[in-house]
């Protein structure tokens, strides 16, 4: 026997097999084709391989590999044909009109508020911040007292707090994470703490009793009010665009001093292509960490200083996407959620 003969036989067998697959009109006929060519005992490809014993030893691997390739090709042709024969509609295999709609898959997506949190975190990461978390059910100590907010001070009322039976509460802000982190971690600290906070509010367009907050805290030697302004202005311009104007207004939070509200004025293009500015939009509260907070965490407030800030990703999502009502975030209508799928 000539050495090339088995390979040529294989090629012929493949052509014959492919033709048989193509002409099989039913699943049953196709199965017959499979058994005829690929059956383990009686199959023609197997039979051909069995004849390899007659080949020179150095030829065997070559022919064996070729036979396996033929087998693979026939198998995939059979699978493809199987899929076609499984269809009920006969137009499937005839791609004469390519304007017909394509086949789609379901797309999932992150919640719009999660997406805002992701984007905020991405910016602060480049400014050296890491991620921290703390419990949502808290003690009065962590939610108020350690944050320089005595329980008998009206400031403890301003965020109407949900209390739990037994004296604990649901955190009314993410600031308790500041204290827990300062107690536990080494300095310098630059952390972000995204998380859910709770207030005793009824549901309306601008209030929900639970919502996301993103806390930030930086404590080290030599951190000043200038660093606070610079960091937050840098953040705002990266998030809202380089033309964004940033304004710092005095405010009051018991756990920061000086305290500030931060507003931004965004530049955008109108439909006519003209540049326009939004109104000032309040985006976060911030301030220098009050020395009393550092002292309560056992940190030398003469040596270390820091700044902290807190913002509402939900509110920022409203502004970013032009959503009129916070309640849409909790309704979870899929037609709403699908609008924010990033493709």
């Amino acid at each position: 026997m000539e050495s090339g003969a088995p390979i040529e036989d294989l090629d012929a067998l493949e052509r014959e097999g492919l033709a048989a697959v193509g002409s099989a009109g039913t699943i049953e006929a196709l199965e017959q084709v499979r058994v005829e060519f690929l059956g383990r005992k009686e199959g023609r490809v197997s039979g051909l391989l069995r004849g390899m014993g007659a080949l020179a030893p150095e030829e065997r691997p070559k022919v064996g590999a070729a036979a396996n390739r033929v087998k693979e090709r026939l198998l995939s042709a059979i699978e493809a044909r199987e899929a076609v024969l499984g269809q009920t509609d006969e137009t499937v295999a005839e791609p004469e009109d390519l304007t017909l709609p394509q086949r789609n898959r379901w797309v999932g997506g992150r919640h719009p508020v999660t997406q805002v949190v992701d984007d905020l975190i991405a910016i602060f990461r480049t400014l050296g911040f890491t991620l921290a978390r703390g419990p949502e059910a808290e003690t009065e100590w962590y939610n108020f007292e350690a944050l320089n907010t005595p329980l008998d001070h009206p400031a403890a009322d301003e965020q109407d707090t949900l209390y739990l039976k037994g004296g604990n509460l649901l955190r009314s802000h993410t600031s308790p994470v500041q204290v827990r982190t300062l107690e536990r971690e080494e300095l310098p600290i630059r952390i972000l703490a995204p998380g859910t906070v709770y207030r005793r509010d009824s549901y309306d367009a601008t209030h929900t009793p639970a919502f996301m907050q993103l806390e930030g805290l930086a404590v080290d030697e030599g951190i000043s009010f200038v660093d606070l302004k610079a960091t937050l202005a840098e953040f705002a311009r990266r998030f809202w665009g380089s033309g964004t104007r940033v304004r710092f207004r005095p405010s009051f939070f018991p756990f920061t001093e000086p305290s500030a509200e931060v507003d931004v004025k965004r530049v955008y293009r109108t439909e006519d292509g003209e540049e326009a500015e939004t109104d000032w939009i309040e985006i976060m509260g911030a301030g220098m960490v009050d020395p009393a907070v550092l002292d309560a965490c056992g940190i030398d407030s003469e040596r270390y200083t820091g700044f902290a800030f807190g913002m509402g990703p939900g509110r920022i999502a409203l502004l970013r996407y032009g959503i009129p009502d916070l309640r849409l975030f909790f309704e979870n209508d899929v037609r709403f959620l699908e609008q924010f799928v990033r493709s």
């Binding site: 269809q87 039976k165 630059r190 859910t196 200083t305 979870n332």
Partner: protein, 812 residues
Amino acid sequence: MNVSHRWLQACCAETIGSPHEIAEHLAARGFPVEEIQDLSLRLGGIVVAQVQEVRAHPDADRLRVCSVEAGGSPVQVVCGAPNVEPSGWYPFAPVGSSLPGGTEIRKVKLRGQTSEGMLCSERELGLGNDAGGLMVLSGPLKAGEPLAEALGLDDVRLSVEVTANRPDLLSHRGIARELTPKGHASLTLPEIPGGNGRFDQTFSEHPAQVDEHEVSVDGVSIRVDAGDLCSRYLGLRLTGVRIQPSPQWLQSRLRAIGGRPINNVVDATNYVLYECGQPLHAFDLASIRGRSIVVRRAVAGEPIHTLDREDRVLSDRMLAICDSERPVAVAGVMGGAESEVSESTEEVLLECALFEPGSIRSTRRALGLSTDASYRFERGVDPESMRAAIGRAAELILATAGGRIEGPLMDVCPRPFARAQVPLRLGRVERLLGIPFEAREVAALLEPLGFLVDQGEDMLTVEVPGFRSYDVTREVDLVEEIARTYGYDAFPETLGTFRPSASPDHPLFRLEDAVRDELVASGILEAQTPAFASEGEGEVEILNPVSTEEAFLRSRLLPGLQGRLEYNLRRGNRDVRLFEIGTVFRLGGRGELPQEETRVAAVLHGHAAPAHWTRLSPPLDVWDIKGILNRLVGILSGGRWTLAPGLAEGLPSDGLDRGSVFRVIDEEGAVRGVGGRLEEGELDLPPWALEVWALEIALPGEPHLPTVPNFQPLPVHQGVDRDLALLVPGDAPVESVLALIRERGGGELRDLEVFDVYRGPELPQGVRSVAVRLRFRALDRTLRDQEVEDAVREVTRALEEELSVGFRGKHE
């Protein structure tokens, strides 16, 4: 805090800006103005009118027909108010004008009588709550004159947001101090029409009888027993007063800020409250038993009928103002009705006191009663302006109610106030603010606010005035005042160097992110639901919930998501796939915080893929949920957890059908989650709904670090496939069959795949035909047929012997 623009101007020697300029200025100093209201606009079109004639309505008992003179020729108006009288003066809305609520006035016929316009009550004009009759006007009036002018309401009201640390701004004088460049130095006291000016600021020199415990003058005594809760109590006796409505100018002042005039004495105390920030109270001295005031803690259970006509019961932690027998006022919160100033009052005892903020706060919380007085007391009232305030009120009363002051001022002062001297280091200012300040700069920034600055070399000493004694007690408080007055916008924004955080990322974030990625890739949308539950759905109870549906914290995520699924199906969304990553709560130990656990849950309803014209997509089924579950298990545990069919004995099914359910088992053997088909009764679904699939798994508390894959060399040698058609008895799970094949297939068995499962009539009862494909491959050589045959023979032997598996077409 509502501020009248005119009143504010009257408190300043300098000219203040327009309402909008003021708003901008206050916002820049930390006190945004929420609303600017032009009061005259609200009353535009409303005029003063005099009723000339009142006749009975021919066809209605309650209505009267009036002839009204409002500038032009008299018009006929039908009026239902009981208090309309001939020659009375009332506000009048002519035809074509609108009420503040937006109601447009038209010419109408009421029971056959033409009515051209409307005579108005206080309520209808938004000027008060009295809807019982027409608002009666007095004083020199002109028919047709705009009402806003007649009432002095051609004014602008600013609603200023005052932060909790600045009680000194809860008055017109306080706002004026923040507003003008000279600040404190430019404050004036508005002149009181008819007043003699004798008792204003100079009243502090008026003769007074002072004691730390008790003062008694002409049979009237004041004693402070609870000196810890009341550091000072001033009393002043006025006799011969005539209680009547306040003059127009005083009523206008109060109305301009949304107040309600009552009578001249009460109005005088309220006026001083809004002007100076000092709450005052006026007692009808005739109803004070024993003519003595005792400031003491209430006896538990002591009752008092307060001014708001409520019966209240005091506790022994509350401070009460008492006469010789009983409480006559809840200190700092509200007076009692029995000692209230009324029309018959002739003798008044004016009170001006200083109470402990914390005590007032806990009392008003316990009573659920917040008043203008308690609001100021719990934040802190100026201890230095008490004599000025009581003098100011006395002057007002004398000017509007007549009478005279009897005897000296009674001043019981258990704890005199002393100003704090706060040291201020310039170096510290620079370290906190990032730029240097010189001593004289600091002085120039602080002094207009009322601070007295003693300039040293590197250290200044700052004397804090009484009205700032609550919020400025430390060096850092002064640093804030410097920054605020300097202007936040004047600080540079240069980003300096920083050291990155020494604190590592909390590992759960990365895990949550990986779970999100996986579920999003599986075509599921992320949902967020609030962590509340109703009774029965959670363990941890909320003390003060907004509603009973949200009175507990959830112990599972699925009920919330199921609700969202129902909501979507109700709205006709047929393909709904939602997941959530959130916290669930369980009761902690006694006195401990609840235990929190982060979980992931999902609900799936609909088809495996979007419809396409080439073929119908099958509904989601158990193999879809199993795939998601297995992929999640891999992500959550790095392969350490397993998925098993069925529920563990004794565990609740959580609404899942016990026939199509899986459980997630951790390395300790504990169940960490479940997934499967929700039972039909679990959900309120429309008739067209398909099966609903759900899962809920707890994330590990301390996540494993993601495992780093170990590279495997790519195969260079051909593999060999062997297909086996197994006849698997009903009691042998396919998983055990596959496990046995893997175990006995030898080191060269690389892949194992189930490609067909079949049940048919020709097969014995319960037996399934399972077709598997075994792929053998050696790393170092092409496998010989014999090696593969040997491996397959070992596998089939083991299957036959150990699991009674038969083989189809074995005859082949």
